[in-house]
C-alpha cells in the first residue's frame, strides 16, 4: 500500500535527510516509526501525505502519487500532525463541515470514539485543552475510516490515562485492510500497540521488522554479568545487574523493550543489519 523506491529528500539540496530509501509497507499492520529528534520522522510522514515532495525517487500510497494531492488520494489517507488544528467551531459544526469530504466517515463511530477518549462537547473546540483537541482530532480521523492513518507524535500532550485509552482505541479499531503509521520518540507509548518497528537514523533505514521477527532474533534480558560471547547490541546498568540486548541464538523467549531495542539498533547499526539480514 505504501511503496517507497530510492527516495531522496532534503530541505537543502546539498544536505539530504534521506538518500535512496526503499521501504514497502503492507496493509494489516500498525507500524511504529522510531527515531531521534530531527531524524526525519515527520518529514517521512509528510512525504507520504504529499505535504513534501521527494527530491528523487518515487512514493506510491494506495496506488497514488502523493505529490499530486488528488482528492481521490486524500480521501484514503488522514494525517494527524504533532500539533493539531481546530477552528473555533463546535464538535457538531466541525463534523458537518469536514466529514462530508470523507466518504467512509461514520457518525456512530465518531460519537463512540469521542466517548471512549472522554471528549465531551463543551462549546467551541479551540477552547478545549491541547490534549482534548488532540483526542478530538484522533476520534475524527479514526471515524473517517481511511485506509492509511498517519500519526505524528500522537501521544504528545496526552495525560497517562489518555495514552492508555489511545492505545486501546487504536488496537480496537484496527482492521487488516488498514495501515496505521505512528511516528514517535516516546517509545514506551507504543508498547503492546505496534506490530512492526521501523527505526530511522541519519537518513538511513536501520530496521524494518515485525515484533515476532525481533523477538525471534533478539533477546532482551537482565543478567548479572555481561556475556563475553555472542553479539551484544546494548547494555544498561540496572538494580539487578545489567539489562542487555543480545542476538537470540538460543531461541529464548523474551519481552521486547522498545527503548532498549531502539538504543541497540541506533548504537550498533552494522551488527543489527547483519542480524536482521537487512
Amino acid at each position: 500500500m505504501i511503496e517507497i523506491q530510492n527516495l531522496s529528500f532534503g530541505y537543502k539540496k546539498r544536505k539530504l535527510l534521506y538518500k535512496n530509501l526503499n521501504l514497502n509497507l503492507e496493509a494489516g499492520s500498525i507500524y511504529g516509526l522510531l527515531g531521534k529528534n530531527g531524524a526525519g520522522k515527520s518529514t517521512l510522514l509528510k512525504n507520504f501525505i504529499g505535504l513534501l515532495f521527494p527530491k528523487e525517487g518515487n512514493i506510491s500510497v494506495n496506488g497514488f502519487e502523493p505529490k499530486k494531492r488528488w482528492p481521490s488520494f486524500l480521501e484514503t489517507i488522514y494525517f494527524i500532525p504533532e500539533e493539531v488544528y481546530v477552528p473555533a467551531l463546535t464538535v457538531e459544526r466541525y463534523k458537518n463541515l469536514f466529514a462530508p469530504f470523507y466518504p467512509l466517515f461514520n457518525e456512530e463511530q465518531f460519537q463512540s470514539y469521542l466517548e471512549q477518549l472522554d471528549v465531551h462537547d463543551k462549546g467551541k473546540l479551540n477552547s478545549l485543552s491541547f490534549g482534548q483537541q488532540k483526542k478530538f482530532i484522533i476520534a475524527f480521523a479514526l471515524a473517517c475510516n481511511t485506509r492509511v492513518l498517519l500519526l505524528d507524535e500522537p501521544t504528545n500532550g496526552l495525560d497517562i490515562p489518555s495514552k492508555i485509552k489511545f492505545r486501546k482505541l487504536i488496537s480496537g479499531v484496527f482492521t487488516d485492510d488498514k495501515i496505521i503509521f505512528i511516528s514517535t520518540h516516546q517509545i514506551r507509548d507504543l508498547d503492546n500497540l505496534i506490530d512492526r518497528v521501523i527505526i530511522v537514523d541519519n537518513g538511513e533505514l536501520l530496521l524494518n521488522a515485525s515484533i515476532s521477527e525481533i523477538a525471534d532474533k533478539l533477546c532482551f534480558k537482565s543478567v548479572s554479568d555481561i556475556p563475553s560471547t555472542g553479539k551484544v547490541l546494548y547494555t544498561e546498568d540496572s538494580l539487578k545487574g545489567h539489562a542487555i540486548v543480545i542476538e537470540n541464538t538460543a531461541h529464548e523467549d523474551s519481552k521486547i523493550n522498545l527503548e532498549h531495542l531502539f538504543n541497540a539498533i541506533t548504537e550498533n547499526p552494522a551488527i543489527a543489519k547483519s542480524i536482521f539480514e537487512y
Binding site: 513534501l52 494531492r69 481521490s72 494525517f79 488544528y85
Partner: protein, 270 residues
Amino acid sequence: MNNTFNLTRFGKLLKKTLLERPMHTFGFTGLMLVISLLLYFVIKTFSHLGMAPHIGMAQTITFFGGLIGGSFFLASFVFGYFSSNASGSSFLTLPASTFEKWLCAILITGVLYPLIFLIFYRIMDSSFVAIYHNSLDTASPFYKEQYERVYNFDLNGIIARNIYVMFFIYTGAMLLGSLYFNKAAVIKVALVLCAIFIFTFGLNWLMAIGLFGSIEDAAPFNHVAIRAGKEIGSLELPSRVGKIFLYAIVFVFPTILWLLSFTRLREKEF
C-alpha cells in the same frame, strides 16, 4: 472521480471555507462595509464642512479603500492557513483538488466580496447623494448648479476603472504572497509592493533625469514631464507602445499574478 473539479465537492469546500472561520469572512466583510460607511461620512462631513465637491473625494477614497483594502486583507485570509504547521497541513490535505481550493479563494476575493461591496457602495452612495440633493434649497438661484455638482459615483468611469485594475493587481499579489510568506503575509506583501513601487518610480525618475536633465514628473510606462525654462512639456510613449504597456498592466500582469497563485498552491510544500 474527477480529481480536478467536482461541483458537489466544490460546494462543500466553499461552505467549509466560509463557515470555518466566519469572523474572517463574514465578520471582516461586515467590518469593511461599516468602515466604508464611516469613511464616506467622515470625509464628506469634515473635508470642507460638507461642501459639494468633497462628496466626490469621499466617493473616490471610500471606493478605493473599501474595494482594494477589503479584498487585499480577505485574500490574506483565504490562504492564511500557513501560519502554523497544523492548519497548513489541514488545509493542504483536505480532500479537495488544488484547483477547487484556488477557485474558492478566487470566488471569495474576486467575485463575492467585490459584488457585496459594490451593491453596498451603490446603495450608500445613492443615499448620501440623495440626502445632499434633498438638503438643497430649491428656491436658491444656485440650486441647479449645486444639484448638478454632485452625482452618483460612476462605476464605469475612468477612476473606477483604474481602481479595478489596482484591485486585480493588489489582490492577485496578496493571493500569491500569502502562499510564499507563511507568517505576517499582509505586512510582507505590503512591504514588497512598496519596495517595487519605490524601485520602479525611483529608477524611472533617475533614468528620466539622466536622459532629459530637468524634469517635473515621470510616470513609469506612461510619460515624462520635462521642464524647459518656465514651460513644461509632456513626453508620452508612442501610442502603440503605450497601448502595449497599458494592456500589460491592465490584463497581463493581474492575470499572471492570479494564475501564479494557482501554480504556487499546487507546488506548495509545507
